[in-house]
Symmetry: C2
């Protein structure tokens, strides 16, 4: 049987995994809101971000409490500090999903994304969901090879980003500047979201090996 202290450390990990689920759901719904110009869904992502912020604050409170009561050292200390950092990253991922939802809301009832680019944004959303789901797995498993995979998984988002800019900057771009601005910002939110998922995985690698990938 594990003692209370280690149960509390495990609870911290569970909480982080739960946060990956919250922010995966947020980016999924935000992407649908963006593609379908679904105002209700967008509003839900925006108001639902409170749950992510709350989870972040709870991780932070647990960390402070654990430190004051248990005065962890060495590996446990690194684990706790790392949990704090990952909770911060996850909070920012929630914020990025909110930014996508706000883009959808700002253009409603129009869609911010022209029909011929929707498959690219759908793909960015799906890659983002896979990245954060994988990050959640490795937070739970501490599986270093899988954590390292995220570095190259994220390249798919960068590739889509380049394709998107080729479309926007083509002399035949028919949708004007406002659409180009919306798309530029929206793709940046997905790019940052993917980067953050990679940061989560890097934290796991650092925790498991003591080395930064």
């Amino acid at each position: 049987m594990r003692d209370t202290y280690h149960e509390e450390l495990d609870a911290l990990t569970d909480r982080l995994v739960e946060m990956t689920r919250l922010v995966r759901s947020a980016i999924s719904r935000a992407t649908t809101a963006l593609l379908d110009s679904d105002l209700g869904l967008a509003e839900g992502v925006i108001s639902g971000d409170k749950a992510v912020d709350l989870a972040h604050d709870e991780v932070e409170a647990s960390v402070l409490d654990l430190m004051a009561r248990q005065q962890p050292v060495a590996t446990d200390l690194r684990k706790i500090i790392s949990a704090l950092r990952m909770a911060g990253v996850l909070e920012r991922m929630g914020d990025l999903a909110v930014h996508v939802a706000r883009t959808a809301r700002r253009r409603h009832p129009d869609s911010a994304i022209p029909p011929e680019l929707r498959d690219m944004f759908l793909e960015m959303g799906q890659i983002s969901e896979r990245l954060v789901t994988k990050a959640g797995s490795v937070i739970a498993s501490h599986d270093v090879p899988t954590a390292l995979e995220l570095e190259s998984d994220d390249d798919a988002l960068d590739k889509l980003q380049r394709q998107l800019f080729t479309k926007i900057l083509s002399p035949n771009w028919p949708h004007g500047i406002e659409a180009a601005v919306d798309i530029t910002l929206a793709q940046r939110y997905y790019e940052r979201y993917g980067d953050h998922a990679v940061h989560l995985a890097r934290n796991v690698v650092y925790l498991a090996t003591g080395e930064r990938p």
Copy 2:
């Protein structure tokens, strides 16, 4: 006389103030690189970001070391955790200055910013510098009223952002989509930089009062 422990805590604060100076200089040089299309200056900001990353890592190492050796509680613990968070925020501010510098480098020898918008970007750069300088002061002084001022100081950046979008989205915009995309991304870097300076100040308020503004 102060004991070694409290000297180490003070050293942590000094290090954060030093980081505000590094990232102020970075955004200042990046803005000049952007406005003057100065490639050498842009490269300097990009390579110089290593110093910011190093300072971040040193704060993190000091924090882990302090925690392991001194097992701080209550106020000191909050102070140390807060230093860790602020070092993370400052590292991201350095990254944003790098993004501005990369925008300048990507368009060199052209300028990413059309002549008639340069005064607006100069102003965004100057507001950013004032915000981070003030954040540095309040990190050192723990002056809550001044820290709270940053919340409204940052509004000036939001106002400039709106003016900029009015220009870009005007039917008479003569610079095409590529310039609009560059400007959209660049203004976002300044907006985020300003937000982060506000976050630094909020950390000071939280430390001093226990309440989040």
